[in-house]
Amino acid sequence: MKYLLMIWSNPQTWGHPIFLRTPEAAAMTDDERAGLLRAFEDLMREISESGELVTAQALADPLTARSVRVRDGESLVTDGPFVEAKEQMAGYFVVDCATPERAEEIAGRFPDARFAAVEVRPLMGGSAEDL
């Protein structure tokens, strides 16, 4: 079963890994920040080696986002993301794992989950869930 993990974040400045740019990470000691990074790298290694990681991508600053709306045949393009919120989607991961519990476990190990949230969404067209 495949899941999209959406990394939501509210960084002070944009950059990756995004969790290091949050106010919470800025308030940490160097050791604590290094610990976050290590936890993230361990997670990446684990899900790559297990064959659970399908694909992943970091997103550019929402400042560069353009939202396109077509109304009455007229195209209206505005600057910025479609959803106005403090938290923005900073990147995504697609994982293929055995159970929804495992997907949630992976999500919970992203440092971002401590600051904003990691949203877990099943992908359509996946195989039936084994109960």
Partner: protein
């Protein structure tokens, strides 16, 4: 070229290479390279007279090349003497494989489904080493990048190495339990193919056909194992309905409404014969019971003429042999058909206490169906809509929404 014919010798190629070089990892890799070479050369040059000997010869060469380059690296690094006598590094002539030729398939199945491996890795390694599929084909079938699938295979082989498991039959006492793991992997391959079987997959390997082929092989090796026969029967009896599972518009057609004249009668007959035979002469197990249920459906001239009392009794039996929420859900349907919807709905109320199941679309789809039977259209519609929102299958979602709209 008949694809299946020569791929089925893959386990024997691996077996021959393991016996010669005592390295499962390299033998499996070399066999895969030999298969890739065959796929590239045979369409042009024609299939050799003895495909197996050809594959073993090419596999041996690849394996030795690998050993040699590793050896050269070690020499460079250690400035040490070669660790293997030169005569071990000469490609052997084509030869007939040693004893226990066809046992290799079973040995390999048991190794690929070793309990130390994660389920996804078992599936990947089984399809490659026993099925002879390429990593690319397997990746494509499961809609993941090749790198992801390659990782699952290499993780599987690493785990095998770490666990100390070897390419040989486990002790006899362990075989029954290990065989159950193999059957579960084959079952998962089948269901993956079954649920994915809609539309745009022109060049995708047919996992359903692959699962049936591998289970057939297992059944040929173990004709007296009732569960192997049961699983094969279950697959055939399910696959028999495939032509009727979707209509011309690509929409899902539920069992009760399927055009039974479109069912594959050869598969039905074979499946019924298999399960009948195994039920009379082998130890009972869950796959046989599931096959027996499928046989009751497949033998009914119409949905209305289904022998629900027998289905209910069989689900009761299955619940004892292999209890689980899906079995109970299915029993609730059978119970409703025999005693009326209220009895089935009472079972669902108990099941819904399970939080995980409460979010599962199957529970709500069944509830919707039973509410519809009882004439409570308003709540039936709500349940169909909720089920349609919870499923991750697009055809199923469309089907459930159509059911809601029809009320």
């Amino acid at each position: 070229m008949t694809d299946d014919l020569w791929r089925s010798v893959t386990p024997q190629v691996i077996g021959a290479l393991v016996r010669r070089y005592r390295d499962f990892d390299r033998a499996e890799e070399a066999a895969q390279e030999a298969l890739l070479a065959a796929a590239a050369q045979w369409p042009e040059d024609g299939v050799p007279d003895d495909p197996k000997a050809w594959l073993i010869r090419v596999g041996s060469r690849r394996l030795i090349d690998g050993l040699r380059s590793d050896e050269a690296r070690e020499r460079r690094e250690l400035a040490d003497a070669t660790r293997a006598p030169a005569d071990e590094l000469v490609a052997p002539p084509p030869y007939a494989v040693g004893p226990g030729d066809h046992d290799d398939t079973l040995t390999l199945l048991l190794l690929c489904c070793h309990p130390a491996l994660a389920p996804a890795s078992r599936i990947a390694l089984t399809l490659r080493a026993v099925g002879g599929l390429t990593t690319a084909q397997i990746a494509h079938a499961f809609l993941v990048p090749e790198a992801t699938m390659a990782q699952r295979i290499s993780r599987a082989k690493q785990r095998i190495r770490e666990s100390g498991a070897e390419f040989r039959m486990p002790p006899p006492d362990d075989v029954p339990d290990r065989l159950r793991e193999v059957l579960h992997v084959l079952y998962l391959v089948f269901t993956e193919g079954h649920t994915a079987s809609t539309g745009d997959e022109l060049h995708r390997v047919d996992l359903t056909a692959e699962a049936i082929r591998l289970t057939r092989q297992a059944h040929a090796l173990l004709p007296d194992d009732g569960e192997v026969a049961g699983l094969l029967a279950l697959m055939l009896l399910t696959e028999a309905r495939r032509p009727a599972r979707t209509n011309e518009a690509g929409e899902l057609v539920p069992l009760a409404e399927q055009d039974r004249s479109r069912w594959d009668t050869a598969y039905v007959h074979e499946g019924v014969a298999l399960v009948t035979d195994s039920l009379t002469r082998t130890r009972l197990g869950p796959y046989q019971v599931q096959a027996a249920i499928a046989a009751v459906h497949d033998e009914a001239p119409s949905g209305a003429e289904t022998d629900w009392e027998q289905v209910l009794a069989l689900y009761g039996l299955l619940e004892q042999l292999a209890p689980g929420p899906v079995v109970t859900l299915n029993r609730a349907v059978a119970l409703a058909m025999v005693e009326g919807p209220a009895a089935g709905l009472a079972v669902l109320d108990d099941l819904e206490q399970d939080k995980r199941l409460a979010r599962h679309h199957r529970l709500h789809a069944v509830r919707a169906h039973l509410l519809e039977m009882s004439g409570d259209t308003e709540r039936a519609r709500e349940s169909y809509l909720l089920a349609s929102r919870l499923t991750t299958s697009i055809p199923e979602q469309d089907h459930l929404r159509r059911k809601a709209e029809a009320l």
